[in-house]
Each structure stands twice: as C-alpha cells, then as structure tokens.
C-alpha cells in the first residue's frame, strides 16, 4: 500500500513545531520521543506501520483547536485517532504527520433520560457510553465488535455499525450533534438535543468522513431504553442457498429481528474448535435474535422457526434461558479470535443485496480455490454486510500480497452484485485504490469538492479514502502554497 513520501521541509521543522505545540499543551500531552511515537505507528491494520512525526493527546476542545490551528499555520498534516482499532488503516500516520489522539477526552458531559440523550467527549469508548446509562436501563445502540476498545470518535469517523443495526441503525442514525474542530482551529457546533440539525445535513456528511473534514471532540448521542428481554435461535442448513432463502423469507414475512448472523462451514468449524459452543457441523448457520417481553419473544421465535422449518433445517435450537442464549452467541462472538488462533487473517467488509447472498458465497468459494487461500464467512445477513475472513501466513513471503489481491477480487464481486466496498469498517488505506471500481471519477470528484470546503489545504488525514492519484493535485497544491 503506497503512502505519500514525507515532506522533508516538515521533518526539518520538527523542533520548531514542538516549541509551538509545547506553548499550548500540558507537558504530558505531547509525545516527540521516537521510541514513544512508535506506539502510534499503526492501528488494527497492523500490516502497515509508520511512526508519526509527533503525537498529541489533548484533554479539551480548546487544546484540539490550538493544535489544529498551529498545524494549519505550519502546513503539517494531521491524522486524527480514536482508539486505534480501525481495520482499514484509517489512523495510519505518515512520517511528516501529527497524530491527534482523543483518547484522554473521555468524560460524560451530560445524561438526560427525559430527552433520551447523552453528551460525551469522543475519546470515550463505545461500550462505556452504554455503561454510563445502564443503571437507568438505557443503552447506546450501535455495537461494533470492537466496542470494548473503540472510541466514539472513531465510530463517528467510520460511521460504525454492529450486529444489532438491522433494527437500531448505524452511528449516523443515532448521532444528534457534534462539536467539530475544523483544520484551521475554528470550533463549530452542529445539531444537539433536537432532532434534525437545521440547514444542510452537515452532520450526515461528517459522520463517515474518516477524519478528513474535521475532528469531532464532543457528541450528542441518542440513547434508548433497553428492551425487556432478548433471545436467539440457532438454525443450521446444509446449503448457503437455503439459509439465504430462509433469511429473505423471514424479512418478507414482516418479522424484523434485531440481529441475523450467518456463518459458513469453515467458520463454524473454526469457532467450534476454539470455543466448543456445541454448534452442529453443517454448511450454514444462522443466529437470529429477537427482543421484547417473554410472550413477544416466544411469538416471534414461533414465526421464525415456522419459516425455518419449511426450509428443512438440519438443526434448530431455541434458547430458553440466558445460559442457552449465551451458548448460542459464544461461537459467533469468538469467531475472530478463533480465526486468529488458526492463522493470520484479513477481515473484509463488503455489503451486498441480501438476494445475492448465495451467488456471492459460491463465487467466494471459487476464488478461494483459485488463490489457494482459505476463507471463512461470518456476517450480518439481515443487511447483507459480509465479513469474509481470508487466512494467510504473514511469515510466508508473498502471502500478504496474495491475500490482498484475493480480498480486492471479493470486494469487486460485492460491487458487481450491486453492493459496496465497505459496510462499516471504512475505506482508510485498505480499500482506497478500489474506489474507482465503485465510483466514476466524477462521483469521487464530488466528494473531493466537499473536502475542499472543510479542509482547503488538504491537511486532515489526506492520504486516505481516495486513490492517491486522484488526490495528488490537491495535496500537491496545498504543499506548494506553503
């Protein structure tokens, strides 16, 4: 993965930049030592690493504003960072960039149950937002798998989803307001405790902009009352096609479960070996969860199992209590860990129309043969968000490249099927070069024009999202203006 070469003029000004930043930051908020900046050399896409010039860890919106203003004046690129859990390389630095980490900004600023909102600093982790309102039986709905570690800042940057977004939506559907610091240091308030911010939907375009339009330091989030209860059912089939048809029939029947998870045989085998959840050995496994009171749950599970039975399942297992529910989820929740035990893996994130599921799974199987790399599929079937896990050996020369090539083919397949490159992880550097497969140059140009407005000097996370060739002129002219 190519990254722009660092600007020697910026590298030469490190001491000057340190002096300026020291004037506005507490001593412990600036990291300049080369051993220490290494902690910020990558995110969860560990195949790519590069220590930044400096890292700053501000504690307030004012400090973020000061840092950005100085970097703006000095023409230094800034890479915003939440918790560093991006699987797409969204927080990968360049050697001439400043990492701006919001991890120390993790306060709850306001909880308001009457109006069903919480206002937090964005360094707060996703799970601890729910944790802050748990006492009153409320929760924050988007639940990415990394929710224990990932920060709201990163959730907003990537418009993160999760297993339960079939019912509750993704980050953008639960975000009501932000405090945004622009690259020149201007602090902007958008939206708030009222629904639908006035004017153009800037909130909508900021969410998912991968830290390229501004740094979000505070967020007002919608919180919801927890349902009375939830229970899953596990259904096994001897073919992917049949499992896909079952999902489609359930949705058509008007049942809207909170989650429909799908695992294929390689994934079931790996999870079973790892977690021993007692999964049946079959071609496809569905875990479907519904919510409500005991009676409501029973009724919905009845409808679901009736439909499932019409497709002749090899296994159908309802959870009757929390323990059984836990066992059903156990394997699924350890899927990524299980894969990690077997091998190095790359996790893809394409989305497809649910109707194309059987075709896409078959084709992935064929590609797996062609490339000679194993792949396991685990994904959110209700919304078509796939997570094929391609297994490779990082120590074997050429295997990573082969894996990336295979991954690219799978993502192109998703686009061909009417879907997209990424459903919830973001483009980052990982899928940057495939953007022209999904979008025409003029479609990308329209997006670049938005960045031109928010960040005319192209200093915020400039080497991400778009192919470098597409952004080259803009990045170069910003440099030349220095």
């Amino acid at each position: 993965m190519e990254m722009p070469s660092p600007d020697p003029a910026i590298l030469a000004r490190k001491a000057h930049l340190v002096r300026r930043l020291t004037a506005v930051l507490p001593a412990d908020a600036l990291i300049q030592d080369e051993m220490e900046t290494r902690a910020y050399e990558c995110d969860a896409l560990t195949a790519y690493k590069c220590p930044p010039l400096l890292a700053v860890l501000p504690r307030s919106t004012q400090e973020v504003s000061d840092v950005l203003r100085i970097c703006y004046e000095e023409g230094v690129p800034v890479v915003p960072r939440g918790a560093g859990t991006s699987l797409a390389g969204g927080a990968l630095p360049t050697a001439d960039s400043v990492i701006l980490g919001v991890a120390r900004m993790n306060e709850v600023l306001e909880t308001d149950y009457d109006n069903r909102i919480i206002k937090v600093q964005t360094g707060r982790t996703n799970l601890s937002v729910s944790g802050a309102v748990e006492e009153e039986e409320f929760f924050y709905a988007p639940d990415p798998s990394s929710q224990l570690a990932c920060a709201i800042a990163g959730n907003i940057a990537m418009n993160s989803g999760g297993a339960h977004c079939l019912k509750y939506g993704v980050t953008t559907n639960n975000l009501m307001g932000v405090t945004l610091v622009m690259m020149d240091g201007t602090v902007v308030e958008i939206g708030g405790a009222h629904l639908d911010a006035g004017g153009l939907d800037l909130l909508g375009v900021i969410c998912g902009s991968e830290g390229q339009l501004g740094v979000v330091t505070e967020a007002t989030l919608r919180i919801l009352r927890k349902p009375e209860g939830a229970r899953p059912v596990l259904i096994g089939y001897d073919s992917n096609e049949v499992a896909g048809a079952c999902v489609s029939d359930i949705i058509k029947a008007g049942v809207l479960p909170v989650a429909i998870e799908f695992m294929d045989r390689p994934c079931i085998e790996a999870c079973e070996a790892f977690a021993k959840a007692g999964y049946p050995m079959c071609e496809a496994l569905l875990i479907i969860e519904v919510e409500g009171s005991e009676d409501e749950i029973a009724h919905q599970l009845q409808l679901i199992t009736d439909i499932a039975r019409r497709h002749n399942p090899v296994e159908l297992r309802e959870a009757h209590d929390a323990d059984e529910a836990g066992r059903i989820w156990l394997g699924r929740k350890s899927a990524f860990g299980a894969m990690g035990q077997i091998n190095d893996y790359m996790c893809l994130d394409g989305t497809i129309p649910v109707s194309s599921l059987p075709f896409v799974l078959r084709r992935i199987g064929e590609l797996s043969q062609e490339f000679g790399l194993d792949v396991a599929n685990v994904f959110h079937a209700g919304d078509g968000n796939m997570h094929p896990l391609i297994l490779f050996d990082a120590n074997k020369p050429g295997d990573l490249e082969l894996c990336e090539e295979f991954g690219a083919e799978v993502l192109k397949l998703c686009v061909d099927a009417g879907g997209c490159l990424t459903g919830e992880h973001g483009v980052g550097i990982e899928k940057r070069d495939l953007m022209l497969y999904q979008y025409a140059p003029e479609d990308l140009e329209a997006q670049l024009r938005v960045k031109d407005v928010f960040d005319p000097k192209w200093l915020l996370n400039p080497a991400k999202v778009f192919p470098l060739s597409v952004t080259e002129t803009r990045r170069a002219s910003a440099l030349a203006a220095e």
Partner: protein, 369 residues
C-alpha cells in the same frame, strides 16, 4: 415549465442554465422560488423492488402514491411517514419520492424509525452545472466514501436535482394501537410522552393536541404484542390522567402527520425542532394562535398571526433548535426567510458547499440562505 424526460436532458438544461431556476418535484411542499420551473415529474418509474432485501429504487419524479401502492401489495411501507402537505398548504399536484427526500419530510415515526434521510440509501443527482453524480447505493450498510446521500436529503434541491433514489422500505406491522391520555397541560403532556418514550415498549409516535387536551402514544407490531404494550403503557400513563386505548387509529396519525388541525385556518405556519423538554419553555413565549406537538414535544407546529417574527421570540427564550416558515405570503417569506439563518461558521461551510455544487446559483437560489 421545463419537464425533462430523462437524466441526460435534465443535465443538458442545467449545463446551459444562466438564470436561477425553481426546482420542483410535485410542487406540493411550499418551497417554490422565483424563476423558471424545472420539474422532475418526467423522471418516473420504479427501477427495482426487492421485498426480501427491503429495498426499492425509483426515479425521483415517481409519485409517492405509486410507490405506496406497490409496497402495500407486499405488506411493506415507507416507514418515515412522509407528510402530505397539500391540506396544510392548499397545494395541488402529486407528492414525489424525490421531493419527500429533498425536503427530508419525516412524520411522527421520526422518533423511533428515523427521518427520511435515514431511509435513503443512494442517490443520483445533477449538480448546478450539469454534472451527473452518484453516491451511496442500494444496500443497508455503506460507508464507502463520503455520505453525500445525507447531504442531498434535506438540501431542498439547492445542491443538486435528484434524478433517482434508492431507499430502505420496511414491513408494515400487523397492528397498531394508540393510547390517549387526558392531560392537564403541556408540561404534563411532555412528561407523559417522555415516560412512554423512555419505556421498553418501542413507542412509534408521541403527539399532543392542546385543543383536545390529549397526548397520543402509538405502538406498532404483531397484534398480541401491540395489545400487551398498549396495556402496559395505559397503566404507566394513568397517573397523568384518564386513559383510553384504541386499535388502529390510522386516520388520527395521518392527521397528526399532516397537521390537519391547521388546515383552512388563516395565519403563518411554522415548524420548530427543539429538545422535547424545551417545548414547555418555548410554547408560551411564542404567543401562537394554535399549536400542535409531535415527537414527544420535540416538533412544534405553530399557527401564528401573519408576519410575526417567531424566530425573534424563540431567540429571547434561549431555547436551542430551529424554526422553518412553512406557510406564509411571498412578502413575509422574503422578509423572514423560510429557513433559520445559521451561525457564522456553519454558514461559511454551507455557502462553500453551494459554491462547489452550484457555482452559478441556479438551483433554488436563496431558498436555504
């Protein structure tokens, strides 16, 4: 009136446009500006409908009526409940799907199911210089590049003319129930709605009609579940006043959505979005002739004496939010502006975006600032 029959024709018109145009879908929502009308009513047809994937793709000028008929056959619906503005604004014509998204027209279900923009998955549009642009797609989860889909929803045609929309549809629930509570005043109504919305019973509507002194709460789903939740809510809300439960009440919610109480009444109509509990502070300060509340108090419809500067009165209360002038004479609209002016830094961004997408100022120029 220009009525292009396809996207290419529309692009050609915009590429050569010299003067400001009035961009129009069905022309029912009261956002007309001066200038020749460019209508999307020639761009019609449903391109794709997959009930099992909950997605539909249609040309922007397709009428909502046509889409709803098709969805109804499959037991599905547009869950964002787009308002039919014709009664309130005395407009004629047929509301279009493009117009509903351009106005981000969201009904009572906004509080639970989201706004129109939350159901828009992808767009094709033509910018102010004739460029054809695509964003998003037809899948539920998509974070590939910037979300211009959201930016286009609610832009009222000022950044581009929608030509095709791809949207999420949802199953029509088996049943609906409404719990109506007699409350003493607005404060009690907001408190009651807050209890309902903070309950685990998945409330999909919370509205207050001050004239009748009734707060209405809606639940939807399978019949037995509706019955159960309706019963639970009736119990919890009994402390606010006498409670009545009814099944269905489809027309009541249609009236709430369309602000039927104001139909045919003289005066300006304003639509205000605030934090629900702020409704209690704001409402008396408005000196309105009539008020309607939705979204648990977060959406206020105000019928005002002609020419009153509602935003000035709102400003004095310090309540955050925004007010849109939905119905008034041309003269008052010119004086007060339909959309609330934005704080300076946001205004700079919005102007910057309009400059990028409509450098010649031909798309509903001046409508949003």
């Amino acid at each position: 009136m220009m009525i292009p029959q396809n996207e290419a024709e529309l692009a050609e018109i915009l590429a050569s446009a010299k003067a400001p145009l009035n961009i129009q879908g069905g022309g029912t929502r009261g956002f007309a500006v001066a200038g020749d009308t460019l209508s999307t009513s020639g761009l019609t047809g449903i391109e794709l409908y997959e009930p099992g994937s909950l997605t539909l793709v249609a040309k922007a000028g397709t009428t909502i009526a046509e889409i709803e008929t098709l969805l109804d056959d499959e037991g599905q619906r547009l869950a964002f409940e787009p308002m039919d503005s014709r009664g309130l604004l005395a407009t004629t014509g047929a509301p279009t799907i493009g117009g509903a998204f351009a106005a981000n027209a969201s009904g009572p279900r906004r509080i639970q199911g989201g706004a129109a923009r939350d159901h828009l998955l992808g767009v094709r549009f033509v910018d102010g210089v004739g460029g054809i642009i695509k964003n998003g797609g037809r899948v539920m989860k998509n974070v590939t590049g910037y979300d211009l889909v959201k930016l286009m929803a609610g832009a009222h045609g000022t950044l581009g003319v929608l030509t095709e929309v791809s949207l999420k549809v949802l199953p029509k629930p088996e049943a609906a129930g409404t719990i109506s509570v007699s409350v003493v005043d607005l404060s009690a109504a907001v408190a009651a709605m807050s209890v309902a919305l903070g309950s685990p019973y998945d409330v999909s509507g919370a509205s207050y009609d001050p004239a009748a002194g009734l707060a209405h709460v809606r639940v939807e789903g399978f019949a037995q579940s509706v019955q159960y939740r309706s019963g639970q809510l009736a119990q919890e809300l009994a402390r606010f006043g006498a409670v009545e439960e009814q099944i269905g009440a489809h027309e009541l919610w249609q009236d709430i959505r369309d602000v039927a109480g104001f139909h045919g009444q003289a005066g300006d109509v304003w639509r205000i979005s605030v934090k629900p509990s702020d409704a209690v502070v704001l409402a008396p300060a408005l000196q309105a002739e009539a008020l309607q509340f939705d979204w648990g108090g977060g959406l206020i419809w105000a019928l005002m004496p002609e020419g009153s500067d509602l935003r000035a009165r709102m400003g004095q209360t310090g309540v955050q939010g925004h007010a849109t002038l939905v119905r008034s004479s041309q003269k008052i609209r010119a004086k007060l502006g339909q959309f609330a002016p934005q704080p300076a830094p946001l205004d700079v961004i919005s102007k910057g975006l309009r400059q990028q997408f409509d450098p010649n100022g031909v798309l509903n120029s001046g409508l949003m600032g």
